[in-house]
């Protein structure tokens, strides 16, 4: 069992490494993608600087907390898009029969499929996230917690995308739905929790679990609470489990295609 897990991780790391090597073939594009993503993210912070010049508290968050929120959002986005890029293209892979190659290999189909490509600009998000952490205040504790919550947020975003994209097994083209929900998760992750009320807040702690990807981690980082930390970890594991369950349930309905495709 342990060897099996070790081998599975080895193959997924190799896959990510090869995909990164492919992206690095074009040096200029590779570097510019990363730099422009950092600049793009930085430009959004400007609006918050202006807002906090007028008001000290927005939605219950101080400027430092908003910084942290941005950092975690960028980290979660970066981790999910860099390591699991195809979790966000999964419905297309299902509809165009691109799972065939992974199905004839003795490895986990879902992991093989979602780790088979990387989003280079996501490296820019990860770098940007650590720059924000530096501004926020770097300590061993903040570094470890920030890294942990970046990873858990990445897992949550990827898992939610897998769950919605897997609906393609039953309903065919669900790209619009999954892309919209992924965008909601990404965009709302940068706003203070206090501005959301009622049903939206309920959504963020249920089917669109932003609360566990961003808001609760910000709370834990500003006011450490082991109970909340365990809740985040439990929710991450729950969503990972749900993602595998939905995908494998749907896989029975996979119909493949004879479209020509290549691994480029």
């Amino acid at each position: 069992m342990l060897t099996e897990v070790k081998n599975q991780i080895k193959v997924n790391i190799l896959s990510t490494k090869y995909a990164l090597e492919r992206e690095m073939l074009n040096k200029v594009t590779f570097v510019s993608n990363i730099i422009f993503m950092i600049l793009n993210n930085a430009s959004f912070i400007v609006q918050w600087v202006i807002l906090y010049a007028i008001k000290d508290n927005i939605g219950g968050y101080s400027f430092k907390q908003v910084l942290l929120l941005w950092g975690l959002a960028a980290m979660g986005y970066g981790v999910s898009r860099f390591f699991f890029k195809n979790a966000f293209n999964l419905s297309d892979m299902i509809n165009t029969g691109k799972l065939d190659n992974y199905l004839v290999q003795p490895k986990n189909v879902l992991l093989a499929a979602i780790t088979s490509d990387v989003e280079v600009s996501a490296l820019g998000d990860i770098l940007y996230a650590y720059i924000i952490l530096l501004i926020y205040g770097l300590s061993l504790k903040s570094f470890l917690l920030f890294t942990l919550f970046g990873i858990t947020a990445g897992f949550i975003l990827a898992s939610v995308s897998v769950i919605f994209s897997s609906l393609a097994f039953w309903f065919g083209r669900v790209e619009v739905i999954s892309n919209t929900l992924n965008s909601i998760m990404t965009n709302f992750a940068t706003y203070p929790e206090g501005i959301f009320k009622g049903i939206i807040k309920i959504l963020f702690y249920t089917i669109l679990p932003l609360g566990f990807a961003s808001y609760l981690p910000v709370q834990i980082m500003t006011n450490f609470n082991i109970y909340n930390l365990l809740v985040v970890i439990f929710i991450v594991l729950l969503f990972i489990g749900l993602a595998f369950l939905t995908f494998y349930k749907g896989l029975r309905k996979y119909s493949s295609t004879n479209l020509m495709n290549a691994r480029v």
């Binding site: 193959v11 090869y18 996979y254 493949s256 691994r263 480029v264």
Partner: protein, 326 residues
């Protein structure tokens, strides 16, 4: 010993039906209609160890669907499949260690990597220790003549070289059964011949059971001793290549160049395929008449040149496809 046993296998696909135009599109959203396509209908067969079997049929006959069910890609609706004592539906991962697949239309290799690095990646997928993979690569290097391009990125290889590498990648874990789905698609005749020789050599050296689908009759004729023809989801013929030729090659084609124009009409057992100027082409059904009788009709003194040949296997196979359509 049978390595593959298929019993009463069926698979249906639900396909949305849409009427013409925008109106049809709106209708299909409000009240969608579906058609059930019976892709595979109750097929049964078994394949012995070391056999090279052609699994052929016209487009949409159900051959790829059947192969995909045997490899665990698709789940059957009904029936039983046993591949190497395993059920592909339940033991997909376990089975994957013992089978290899080459889909001519679907590339498995990383194009920016060299074949060597690709083979090592496939070694990792199948949990083979590095030293063993290197040994295997050296072995295949010679057998598949890879030396010239083993360190060139796949994207810079010719299609023939790439297919050779695809086959090697699928053999790195020494599969007992190899599924080749149109491995020679798009290749020139010289490269096709080379791939065929390599497949033959591989079958001989490693006793690998090969299931081949191809639209190229030469692939089938040169590689396989047994043919399974599928049409409209059903097996219409399961026989040895020898029997296929023996039973269906009871027709001969006579091409003759004449001194003077001969006025011939169709006769029992003799069909005129072409009659242009001084050239004649006849099809002779040996069950009803003989070659000498056909030649006598032409008058031997009037013949400048004559050629008697078998009906091409391609024609035989397409007539079986057509019979299945009726």
């Amino acid at each position: 010993m049978a390595v593959i046993t298929v019993k009463d296998l069926s698979k249906n696909f639900k396909v949305k039906v849409k009427e013409k135009g925008l109106k049809g599109s709106i209708k299909s959203i409000i009240k969608p209609k579906y058609n059930i396509i019976k892709a595979v209908k109750n097929i049964s067969f078994s394949i012995e160890k070391g056999e090279m079997v052609a699994f052929i049929g016209p487009n949409g006959a159900g051959k790829s669907t059947s192969i995909k069910m045997m490899t665990g890609i698709l789940f059957p609706d009904k029936g039983e499949i046993d591949v190497l004592g395993l059920n592909p539906e339940k033991d997909r991962r376990k089975l994957a260690y013992s089978i290899g697949c080459v889909f001519g239309q679907k590339e498995q290799l990383w194009t920016h990597l060299t074949p060597y690095d690709n083979f090592k990646f496939f070694g990792a997928i199948y949990d083979i220790p590095e030293k063993q993979v290197e040994k295997k690569i050296d072995e295949f290097r010679e057998l598949f003549e890879l030396d010239e391009f083993i360190n060139t990125p796949v994207r810079n290889l010719s299609l023939g070289q790439r297919i050779r590498c695809e086959i090697v990648a699928s053999l790195i874990h020494e599969p007992k059964v190899l599924f080749l789905d149109e491995p020679t698609i798009g290749l020139d005749p010289v490269v096709k011949e080379k791939i065929r020789t390599l497949i033959k050599r591989m079958n001989k050296e490693y006793k690998t059971t090969v299931i081949l689908t191809s639209h190229d009759v030469s692939d089938i004729e040169k590689l396989c001793k047994r043919v399974i023809i599928v049409n409209k989801g059903q097996i219409v013929l399961d026989d040895t290549m020898e029997n296929l030729k023996y039973h269906y090659l009871n027709k001969k084609i006579i091409d003759a160049k004449m001194k003077e124009k001969v006025n011939l009409e169709d006769k029992d057992g003799i069909t005129i395929l072409k009659d242009k100027d001084y050239n004649l082409k006849l099809e002779v059904d040996l069950k009803k008449t003989s070659i000498s009788e056909a030649i006598n009709l032409l008058n031997t003194d009037n013949i400048i040149d004559i050629n008697i040949s078998n009906v091409p296997l391609e024609q035989i196979i397409s007539s079986i496809y057509k019979d299945g359509d009726k």
